[in-house]
């Protein structure tokens, strides 16, 4: 039995105890979550290639035209991570003092044995079902094609930075030196990891089950989707290598942000024009969707998490 199968069984044990009826609901819900993440409808046996969990990357509108332009010009990498930006010195202000701000290196280093690649080769993504990704990181959610994410790609059941937070950090810091602490972080992250193809669906089931708690009701697709990626609580995907517009299946926009666009547009028709930055934001959103459309990428507004559509 795989690690994640065991984890989901134990989660059910903890949640339902001796209540057999609750156990049956929990088992049925786990099956439903796994089906949804695999891309099967509630009553379907076959996998719908348009549905199921995807790796997504959120990017701010202002960066989308450059991403599309770099893709068009075949500049590699088209999508840039922090190591690429660091090489180009895309940084406002001075560099941090030498010994400051090592947190990213600490986490990336502890993750390295999991994926086996140089740290700079990882392009972080999140697992998403029907939502619009991690909105903090950007208002445009790029949904990667399935073949952009090889089956053996590693997933972590949470933000890997959590290894620097309590309770993990309190325990790790009891170890006396940095090498042992890093070994502990490596161990923790390994325990929280699985493969995109084999484990993600069960990893998602544990996450949704644990965050939702015991219940004698069945989950809706929207509840499953909301549980897989809930605001700042997500499943992290360690994608190896960058991607360009050819690797993007669709771009999703959240209904909340589209409503904001409507609000700014409404202000434009009123006696009190909106602020410069609101107009700038709206213009960037339009430039982004135009660039994506020019690249042949579908744009989907996520109006409800219950939609099984990329």
């Amino acid at each position: 039995m795989s690690k994640w199968k065991t984890k989901v069984e134990r989660a059910i044990d903890r949640l339902t105890g001796d209540h057999q009826s609750l156990r049956r609901f929990a088992e049925a819900n786990v099956a439903a979550i796994e089906s949804a993440l695999e891309g099967k409808g509630p009553d379907d046996k076959a996998r719908d290639p348009r549905a199921g969990a995807r790796a997504v990357v959120n990017i701010a509108s202002v960066h989308v035209p450059t991403f599309c332009q770099r893709s068009r010009n075949r500049q590699h990498p088209a999508y840039l991570n922090s190591y690429d930006l660091g090489k180009t010195k895309v940084r406002v202000g001075s560099d941090p003092p030498k010994d400051h701000w090592k947190s990213r290196e600490i986490v990336d280093h502890a993750l390295a044995p999991l994926h086996g690649q140089p740290m700079n080769k990882v392009y972080y993504a999140a697992a998403e079902l029907n939502g619009a990704g991690i909105r903090f990181y950007g208002d445009v959610c790029l949904v990667l094609k399935r073949d952009e994410v090889p089956p053996e790609t590693k997933a972590i059941d949470r933000n890997s930075y959590d290894v620097l937070r309590a309770p993990f950090s309190n325990t790790v810091e009891k170890l006396p030196d940095h090498p042992r602490q890093q070994a502990a972080r490596r161990h923790i992250l390994s325990a929280l990891s699985g493969s995109f193809d084999n484990d993600l669906k069960t990893m998602g089931a544990v996450k949704v089950l644990v965050t939702t708690g015991e219940r004698d009701r069945r989950f809706s697709t929207g509840q499953i989707s909301g549980g897989v990626l809930d605001d700042e609580d997500y499943i992290e995907i360690l994608k190896i290598g960058s991607f360009d517009t050819n690797g993007v299946e669709a771009a999703r926009l959240s209904a909340a942000e589209v409503a904001l666009e409507g609000h700014v547009e409404q202000r434009m028709q009123s006696r009190h024009p909106p602020s410069h930055e609101a107009r700038q934001w709206l213009t960037e959103r339009r430039a982004a969707t135009q660039a994506l459309a020019d690249a042949g990428i579908d744009i989907v507004v996520v109006a409800t998490l219950g939609r099984v559509k990329s």
Partner: protein
Amino acid sequence: MVAEDENPELLWRIDSWDSAAGRAFLSRRLPDGDQDPQLDQSAVFVAPPFFQPEPLASRAPGLGATRGTFQAGLFLAAGEVGFATLDDAIAFIRRGYKAQGADPFSGAPGVRGSGPEGRGGPALAIRLPELPRGPLDDAIAGVVMQFSKCVGEAKLGQTAIRVKWDAPAPAALQQMRGMLAAAGQALVIEMLECFPFKGSTADFIAWSAVAHSLGMQLSRLGLWFDVKDAVAGMFDPDKLPAKVLAEMFALGLPQGFEKDPDHDKPWRIIELLFLRPHWAPWDLQRADGADLYSELGRYPLPLAMAERYRAGGKFGRNDPTVLTLMSRWFSHPAGIADAAVLDRALLLFGGACVTVGALQRDNPAYRPWWVDQNARLLQEFEGRLAQDTWAWIAAQLPDRAFHSDLEQLLRTIPHVWAQVAEAQASDDVKRPWPEELKDHDTLMLENELGDVIADLEAQPGQADDQRKPAAA
């Protein structure tokens, strides 16, 4: 020992920041120092369009963001930057966002070059209008100087100094029409110099979209006739007679133009290039205000002043536009070196383009058809437009002054991001992997953390109870 709340180092600091996107994670804390950052404290997230602070349970999402376009922290040579209040920190993020400005656009159209027989382009030899300083310009220059003075007085780590952009006296505002007309004149001249004299039809189509947009803006502002006549009057009929002008601009004129009754008048050529074929009074009431910024983002700044707004040096491929100028002024008005009367006139022009739509929707009497034919209505329109334009511009200018080092950082943002277009793949970062955890440490971890980190992978033949972690 200083109580933490009284520690002057306890300030609002940037955990991570995408300065181009205006997105940032902030937390109130001491500098992180050389220890691992403490993530278990609340943080705040802000983003455009409204920059409302949104509380987060931890700093982890912010630090996680540093794997993409967010930079980790903000530092000066003196150390990590801190802001005395959350409002100050958010104002800084907001101004950084505005600094970026016009990058989504492909920039100004056209290629500066000469036309038939080496004429056209710079060889048009039209000099920009002399702009005498007047009371309105003096008033604007005065409030900018006041802002600069506040920048000089602001201190790092202390509350930023609040500033107000007082409205110029009503008498001074009467000068606005002249400044708007001068700005419009400079923009039309620049467009004429950018005309694709030797270009293809496609080049002309790209140019004409911008030219007609500019013509329509000038009409909305009630300036078209003044600007057209002023520019036409700048051609020296001895050096560039209308017939030669018609040959130079033939790509943009109708066939059989020589039969036009006014074919020998330069104003007629300008009219056809900028407005007449698309003159549609019903279109003057803008239906879609969202397009305005993409239009302002394509009006090229006059060459003589463009360089002080160009971002990114060798990476700055886009020519600066009116929107670039507005963005720089709204972000860091004290940092624009050698700003002159025309800079301020173009700022007013951009602001007037924003406010005129609301004014004309508010009352049809302010629309061009009336204003162009009724001097009293025109006067009333000009007064309202001047007031509304200054009120809007004043609301976009910074409401507080930071220390000059921070103001300087705001200036660098467009230059920093201009490099992304040329970014290359990073070099491989290889380090020896962390070692495997020793058994006794594994036991300690499993005792403390339980199932969540236990190695539950079943080995063939391994009993279930052997896989279970030690009881906590």
